[in-house]
Amino acid sequence: MQMAASFKVWANRFRFRISRPHVVMGILLLVLLVALVIIPFLRMVHDTAVWQEADTRISRAAKPGEWTAFHYLRVFSGRLSAVIFYRPLLHSLETSLAISFLAMALGGLLAWLVVRTDMPFRRAVAVFAVIPYVLPSYTLALAWLDFFKNERVGGAAGIYQYLFGAPTPDWLAYGFLPIVITLSLHYYPFTYLLLSGALVSIDAHMEECGEVLGASRFTILRRITFPIVLPALLSAFILTFSRALGTFGTPYFLGAPVRYFTLSTTIYSNIVNRTPAVAYISALVLILISMFILYANQRLIGSKSFVTIAGKGFRHRLTPLGKFRYPAFFLAFGLILLGVFIPLFLLAWQTLMLYPNDYSLKNLTLHFWVGKSDPALAEGESGILRNLQVLGAAWNSLELSVLVALVTGLTGIFIGYVAVKGRKTWLAAMVEQGSFLPYLIPSIAFGAIYLSLFTQPVGPIPSLYGSFFLLVLVCMAKNLPFSARSGISSMLQVAGELEESAVVAGASWAKRFWKIILPLTLTGSISGFILVFIATMRELSLIILLVTPTTRTLTTMTFRYVEQGYAQFADAIIVLIVLIVVAGEFIARRLGKREIA
C-alpha cells in the first residue's frame, strides 16, 4: 500500500516536473542538438571506416558499405600521406598559429590604445576597428591578388607589377605570408573586442600600487596588467585559432597557385576529387585539434582568476602618450585603412576595369555591373546586376541569411529560457553545454559532416542534399553557440516575477511566451540576430561543400568566378555582399535601436 502511494507521489511529482514548459522544451532542444550535431558527427566517423561508392574507382577491392582501414592507411601511412596529410597539417598549424599571434598583437595594441591611452579620435577608431569582422574573410585575399598577382598562374598580373615593372616574387604573392597577413587583418577584432572589455574593468589603482612600490612600467605590464587580461587573451587565441583552422576561402585563393595546401583546402579538394572518406579523416583531425586547444585553455585558465570589480571606488586613468599621441593615431588609422578601406577600394576599382592590367582611364567600364552579354568578354557572361544566375544567388543569400537569423535567434531564446529557468538542473546544463558543441567543429569540417550524413535518407527524413533546407540547417547549427549566448544573457535580464504573475493570472505558456518573454528578450537578442545574419551572408567555408547549382549563394558564386579567372565578377559580387551586410546592419539597428556589441 505504502509503496503504491509513494509511487503515486513520485509519479505525480515526475509528471509535474516533466510538464513544466522549460523541461519539455529542454528535452526537445536536447533532441534537436543530438540530431544536428551528435548524429552527423558519428555518421562521419562511421564513414571514415567504411568503403564509399566513390572508392570503386580508387581500389578494386572496394565493397561499398563494408568496414575497411583503407582510408586511414592512405592518409596516415601511405605513399601519399606526406602530400595529402602531413604537409597540409603542418601548413594548417603554422598559418593558424602565426595568424593568432599577429591578430592578437594587432587587436591587443588597438584595444590598449583605445581604452587606456589618450590617443586622439578614440571613439572613431573604436567604431571602425570592428569592421573587418563584418567583411567576408576572403575579401582581403581577393584584394591581395588584385595587387600582388604574378604571371605564374597565367592571366593578368597585379598592380604591383605595373608599379614596379617586375613580377611579384612567389613568396609575396602566394602561400604562407599573404595568408597570415590577410587573415590576421580579418581576425584581429576578436582580440580587440575581448581585450578592450577586460581592460575597461581594470582599476587603475592596481597599477598605481605597483608604481608606488617602485616597479618599472614594464614590470607593471608584465606582473599586473598582463595576468589580469590573460583569460581574455587566451579566449581570443582560441577563437582566432579555431576560426583560422577551419577557414577555406583565403588559404585556397592564396595557397593553391603555389600548391600550398592546408587541411581545410585538402578537405575541399578530396571531396571534389571524390575521395570523401579521406576528407572526413582530415575533418576529424581538425576537430581533434580544436578540442585539444579548448581543453588546454580550460586547464590554463581554470586555476587563474581575479576579482577586478570590487565594492571600492573605481576609476580609469589614461596613459598619456605625449608626443606619441598622433603617431599612435596614425598607426591605428593605418591598420583600419589596410584592413578595410584599401582592400574595398581595390576591389571596387577592379570591377570597373575592362581589361585587368590596363590602368588607363579609357579602360574604365560598367560592363561587369550592368553590361549586356558580350561573347568576347568572359565567355559572354553579362554584368552581375543583369545576370540571372547572380541575382538568383543574391536572392538565395538573402533568404538564407534572414531565415537562419530568425530561426537561430528564436532557438537561442528557447535555449536561454531553458538554461535560466532550469538553473542547476542537469537538463539545463546539458542544453547550455551542448549548444556550444558546434563551436568546436571548424566550419569546413562541419560542412563535410553534413555532406556525409545528408546525401542519403536518414530514417524517415529523405536525403536533404541539394535542398535549400539543408543550408538552413547547417548554418543554424553552426551559429547556435552565438545565439545561445545572447539568448541566455538577455533571458537573465528578465525577472522571473514577470512570468510568474502571468502564471497566477492564468495565462497559457504560449501566451506568456509571445506576450512577455519574447518582447522582453527581443531587444537583447537583436544583436544576436544581426550577428547571425552577417555571419550567414558572408559564409563560404561552411556551405561550399553543400551548395548545388540551384542553391548557389553569392559567396559560392564569387568562388566560382575566381576559379574561372574572372576577377572583376568575383570582386563585384564581394562589393555587393558588403553593401547588403552594411544595409542589413543599418536596418536592424534602426529596428532594434541598438548597436552590435
Binding site: 514548459p21 561508392e53 580508387i58 604571371e151 597565367g154 529523405p462 541539394g466 535542398s467
Partner: protein, 386 residues
C-alpha cells in the same frame, strides 16, 4: 509549445515536399522513350510541342560555353528555358550521384569529360542514359554512339610561342625533360581536369613507344628509376623533377605561352582548341607543335547524356539534338566548331584551317585503360609533386 509544434510540422512538411515524384525505372523509360524504348525516328515538331509543356531543361556542363548554345536554343525553341550550370566534370559526377541517391532530380542533361568515370560510375549503374537522335544514327560512327554519345573529340597537345620560334623548339615529349626546359614546361593540373589524367594514362599505356622514342632522342638505352614502372611513368617523373609548372586551367597555359614580348617563353601542354583564343586576342602568338614525337597529342571524348528520371526528358532530347548541330557546324554545335575539336558527325566539315584526323598523329585515350589505371597514375603524380 505551439511554436515548437509548428516548427516540427514545418520540418516534416518540408522534408516530404523535397522528395520529387519518381516513377518506377521501367515506367519512366517507357514514358521518356529512352533505353530500349527509344523510337526509330523522332519528329522534331512533335518533340518541341511536348517539350514546351515541360517549360525548362537543366544541363550540367563542363564548359562555360553552355550559356552560348543555351541562348541559341531558347531563340530556336521559344517557351523552353535552359538552365545551364557550368562546373567541373568531377563535380558533375558527384552531383548526379547525390541527386540519384536523394531522388532529387535537378539535372536533365549532362555534358562532361572523363568518359571512363561516366561509363563506370554513371552509365553502368543506370544513372544516365544514352540518347542518340535517330536522324544522326547514320552519320555518327558506331564507336561514338556506344556506350554513349560522344559530342566531339578534343585534343590536347603541346603549344609553343611563335613570336620567338619559327618552328617548335621541342621535337619530342622527351625534350621536355631536358635541363634547358627546367621550370619552362606548363602542364594543366590533372587533379582538376580529368582529361589530363587521360593524357598521362595514355602515355603510360604507350610505354613501349615512349621507350623507343627515348632511344631515338637520346641515342642511348633507356634506364628506369627505381620509383617508376615503365617508360611512361618515367616520363611523368622526369617532367615533374624538371619543375614543370602546374597550371589551373588550359587557358592559363596558352596565355602564358602565347604572351608577346617574352625573352624565353615556356612551352606547355594544353587543349588544342585554345587556338581559338587567338581570334579573340590577336596579340597572343602560339601554335601547336604538330611534328612532336612520338605523338602530337592525345584525343579524349566529350560525353553528352540524359539523366535517369529526368523530369524534362523531351526538352532534354531536344537539347541534345541541338547540341549536335548541323553539317555546317552551326546551331548548337557552333561554340565547339573550332580548331582542335573533332566533330563526331562524319557529315560535318572540319573547321577552317584544321588538318584532317587521319593526317594527325594522335593517341586516342582508352576509357577502359583509364578506368583501370587512372587512379594509380594520379597517385603517382601526387606522390612525386614537390
Amino acid at each position: 509549445m505551439k511554436t515548437r509544434f509548428f516548427v516540427l510540422v514545418l520540418v516534416t512538411l518540408l522534408s516530404f515536399g523535397l522528395a520529387s515524384p519518381s516513377w518506377g525505372q521501367d515506367e519512366w523509360l517507357k514514358k521518356a522513350e529512352l533505353g530500349s524504348y527509344a523510337p526509330a525516328s523522332v519528329d522534331e515538331k512533335q518533340l518541341y510541342e511536348k517539350a514546351k509543356g515541360e517549360k525548362e531543361v537543366a544541363i550540367y556542363s563542363y564548359s562555360s560555353r553552355v550559356h552560348q548554345f543555351a541562348k541559341t536554343f531558347e531563340a530556336q525553341y521559344p517557351g523552353i528555358k535552359v538552365k545551364g550550370f557550368d562546373m567541373d566534370s568531377a563535380e558533375i559526377v558527384t552531383k548526379v550521384l547525390a541527386e540519384q541517391k536523394a531522388k532529387n532530380y535537378v539535372a536533365d542533361v549532362i555534358f562532361l569529360k572523363d568518359p571512363a568515370t561516366a561509363q563506370n560510375e554513371l552509365l553502368a549503374k543506370g544513372h544516365i542514359l544514352t540518347y542518340v537522335p535517330p536522324d544522326l544514327k547514320t552519320v555518327i560512327p558506331e564507336r561514338f554512339q556506344k556506350p554513349f554519345l560522344t559530342h566531339h573529340v578534343s585534343l590536347d597537345a603541346l603549344v609553343y610561342n611563335t613570336e620567338v620560334n619559327k618552328k617548335s623548339p621541342v621535337a619530342s615529349l622527351w625534350d621536355l625533360t631536358r635541363p634547358e626546359w627546367k621550370s619552362k614546361v606548363l602542364f594543366p593540373d590533372p587533379l582538376k581536369m580529368p582529361e589530363f589524367v587521360e593524357f598521362l594514362s595514355t602515355v603510360v599505356q604507350r610505354a613501349e613507344e615512349m621507350e623507343k622514342e627515348y632511344q631515338r632522342v637520346f641515342g642511348k638505352p633507356f634506364q628506369l628509376s627505381k620509383d617508376s614502372k615503365n617508360a611512361g611513368y618515367e616520363w611523368i617523373l622526369r617532367l615533374l623533377k624538371n619543375d614543370a609548372v602546374i597550371s589551373g586551367s588550359t587557358n592559363d597555359v596558352s596565355n602564358a605561352v602565347g604572351q608577346p614580348g617574352q625573352q624565353k617563353p615556356p612551352v606547355g601542354i594544353t587543349a588544342f582548341s585554345r587556338l581559338r583564343d587567338k581570334e579573340k586576342n590577336p596579340k597572343l602568338a602560339f601554335d601547336v607543335a604538330y611534328d612532336l614525337g612520338p605523338v602530337t597529342g592525345v584525343a579524349t571524348g566529350v560525353v553528352v547524356a540524359v539523366v535517369n528520371q529526368a523530369r524534362h526528358f523531351n526538352a532534354a532530347k531536344l537539347l541534345v539534338r541541338w547540341m549536335m548541330g548541323d553539317e555546317k557546324g552551326e546551331r548548337g554545335y557552333k561554340p565547339y566548331f573550332v580548331l582542335g575539336n573533332i566533330p563526331t558527325r562524319t557529315d560535318m566539315a572540319a573547321p577552317k584551317g584544321s588538318k584532317p584526323l587521319k593526317d594527325l598523329n594522335v593517341w586516342a585515350a582508352d576509357p577502359k585503360y583509364v578506368w583501370d589505371h587512372g587512379q594509380e597514375v594520379r597517385d603517382f603524380w601526387l606522390s612525386n609533386l614537390k
